[in-house]
């Protein structure tokens, strides 16, 4: 048994009946006890993967191993999984206690009622819903329904917990609170968890590891900070980060990167960060907004279109080569709408991508 590959997915493919290829050759592994976030924009295939892992959908090809054993032909109920649905999927005609007990009183793992109730009580205490036992789901708030769904998922003591956007129906403040609770809960139970989300902040804050999907392909499978500091490609760089990254079109001619109104000498870049030698041609230069800032010796001139306050910092918005770009500055910096500024980049922190998204610097 390999704890580093407690969940292993190999060359997974899913083509729907209508010909849409939702998952294209996806492989990844999850370590035992980890909380892994499957991140991506809507329609990227992350929920499809979760459904395939749960056995609610059949893969077109590929292999899924739980704890070293193939589960492709195993029924959902025999996969030892818990699943929290986006809409919670609570049974509306049952009370909270009956909902939580349900997995214990049906099917072949049926337990005597007293045992089922005792186990249900234990998980209801863990998720702090004991006092709601006799309520019907319709009388509960979103956060409470969420807790019931989690308790119901955990009550079978599954090996793997699958969560499909469990926070998307909650308001912003509650979302922050519940996501911390979820992390604390799954860590205290020690269950391996796969958590689907489209919210990068959510993924960065609770995931031990993040797998970023787009178009049915893994874009990056890595620790959270690496998505920010070392994005694999143009998509990752643009998907992760708030405010979003600035992109400038540049052309490499001889030893220079020429943009519309500024030029960078390639010798000024950190030579060790080049993935390969640069051929002449078009590239995209991407800079995180905190790595482009006003300075007297700045290399591009811009007019501030707008200033947006986001707490401790302010975002200066400006237009360069017809695309909007942003610079993140300190709250105290005396810059206002319409000011002319010179902007400088931290060249050891910029990224260079080919037009088809491959990272070269």
């Amino acid at each position: 048994m390999d704890n580093n590959k407690f969940v292993e997915v190999k060359n997974l493919r899913k083509v729907y009946d209508n010909g849409h290829e939702a998952i294209k050759n996806v492989s990844f592994a999850v370590k035992k006890g980890d909380l892994v976030c499957l991140l991506g924009p809507s329609g990227c295939g992350k929920t499809t993967i979760l459904n395939i892992l749960a056995g609610l959908l059949n893969p077109t090809s590929g292999e899924i191993l739980f704890d070293g054993k193939s589960v492709v032909d195993v029924e959902p109920k025999d996969r030892h999984i818990g699943y929290v649905f986006q809409n919670y999927a609570l049974y509306p005609h049952m009370t909270v206690l009956q909902n939580v007990m349900f997995p214990l009183v049906v099917g072949k793992n049926k337990k005597p009622k007293a045992d089922a109730e005792r186990i249900a009580q234990k998980y209801m205490e863990l998720t702090q819903i004991t006092e709601l036992a006799d309520q019907k789901p319709e009388n509960l708030s979103g956060g409470q329904q969420q807790r019931v769904a989690i308790a119901r998922a955990l009550v079978q003591e599954p090996k793997i917990l699958l969560m499909d956007e469990p926070l998307s129906n909650l308001d912003a403040r509650l979302r922050l609170k519940i996501r911390e609770e979820i992390r604390a809960l799954v860590k205290s139970v020690g269950i391996t968890t796969l958590f689907v989300t489209h919210d990068q902040e959510e993924a960065l804050s609770i995931g031990d590891k993040i797998i970023l999907f787009n178009d049915g392909v893994i874009q990056q499978d890595d620790l959270g900070q690496n998505f920010y500091l070392e994005p694999n490609n143009y998509f990752v760089a643009n998907f992760v980060g708030n405010p979003v990254i600035d992109n400038f079109k540049v052309t490499k001619i001889e030893n220079k990167l020429k943009a519309n109104d500024f030029t960078i000498d390639i010798a000024d870049l950190d030579q060790s960060r080049f993935k390969r030698t640069l051929a002449d041609g078009d590239y995209l230069l991407s800079v995180r907004p905190e790595n482009i800032f006003p300075a007297l010796d700045g290399l591009l001139q811009a007019t501030v279109d707008d200033v947006e306050l986001i707490g401790r910092e302010r975002v200066l918005k400006f237009t360069n080569d017809e695309t909007q770009a942003r610079s993140l500055v300190n709250l105290e910096m005396p810059i206002k709408h319409g000011d002319q500024v010179k902007l400088k980049m931290r060249l050891d922190r910029v990224f260079l991508f080919t037009p088809d998204g491959e990272r070269v610097y």
Binding site: L56, K77, N87, G107
Partner: protein
């Protein structure tokens, strides 16, 4: 304010007229069943009998085996209701939740069968039943009505409105399809099932043409056929005809009164869901 009041009065007036037109035959039937012969045929007509002739009912029972008709009707209506409800429940569940090859084709075939009026196939059915030697039997009376595509479709739209994730959650929770049907689907669709059950019972109660075809013995007759036979048997005794008619209508009327809330709920819900 004044206009509002006139409008209200006007709409109440219209309501009253239509309610009167609808309800009057029923009231007259019940009252007529308690009159003597002269009162039912007199001109101008009598509305309230001078003396309530409860004895009419005793005469009705003496002239025809209404108790037997009643028993036959309750039995066949109950059997068709229970069995067709069960079948449409399973059929609708399969069409909504299960995935199998040819589901689309089955759906289309059944939908097109729905277009065929019952009267069009009634003689084919008669031949089948006659060949099977089931004339004048309870089996012959109920057999063609043990499944209903219409009720299945009705339930299908009902079940379809239940979120798909509920079924998925039940699968992961370890429930079998059977568990899902009885512990989740049925309790969640109570009013829909109730409406189907009630509609089925009422149509079983009111069935006329089919029982007329497949039965000719007095002991196998249902109320409606018994009533028509009785109308000619009783000759000109209109008060007895009215009393017999009351006997056949009253039970179903009582059902309506008891369950009117559920009937309305079922129908309204169906409308909202389209």
């Amino acid at each position: 304010m004044k206009r509002f009041r006139i409008g209200t009065i006007f709409s109440y007036l219209i309501l009253f007229i239509f309610a009167f037109i609808t309800v009057f035959p029923f009231i007259y039937m019940i009252l007529g069943g308690l009159m003597n012969f002269q009162e039912t045929t007199s001109i101008p007509p009598t509305l309230i009998p001078h003396h309530f002739e409860w004895g009419n009912y005793a005469k009705v029972f003496a002239k025809a085996p209404f108790a037997r008709y009643f028993f036959n009707t309750v039995l066949t209506a109950s059997i068709t209701t229970v069995v067709s409800l069960f079948n449409s429940l399973l059929g609708a569940f399969a069409m909504v939740n299960l995935r199998f090859k040819g589901k689309g084709i089955i759906q289309i075939v059944m939908l097109s069968l729905l277009m065929v009026p019952g009267e069009a196939i009634i003689f084919t059915n008669y031949n089948t039943i006659a060949h099977m030697g089931l004339l004048n039997t309870y089996v012959g009376l109920v057999l063609p009505f043990l499944t209903s595509i219409f009720y299945m479709y009705y339930l299908q739209s009902y079940f379809g409105s239940i979120s798909e994730t509920i079924y998925k959650a039940a699968m992961i929770d370890g429930a079998s399809d059977w568990d899902y049907i009885w512990k989740i689907l049925v309790p969640m669709s109570k009013s829909g099932l109730f409406t189907v059950g009630l509609l089925s019972f009422i149509s079983g109660w009111n069935s006329f043409l089919w029982p007329l075809l497949v039965t000719n013995e007095d002991t196998m007759r249902l109320l409606n056929n018994g009533l028509t036979a009785f109308a000619s048997d009783a000759g000109s005794e209109t008060q007895l005809q009215l009393a017999a008619a009351t006997l056949t209508v009253v039970p179903i009327l009582i059902l309506y009164f008891i369950f009117r809330k559920q009937i309305i709920k079922g129908v309204v819900r169906n409308d909202l869901k389209g």
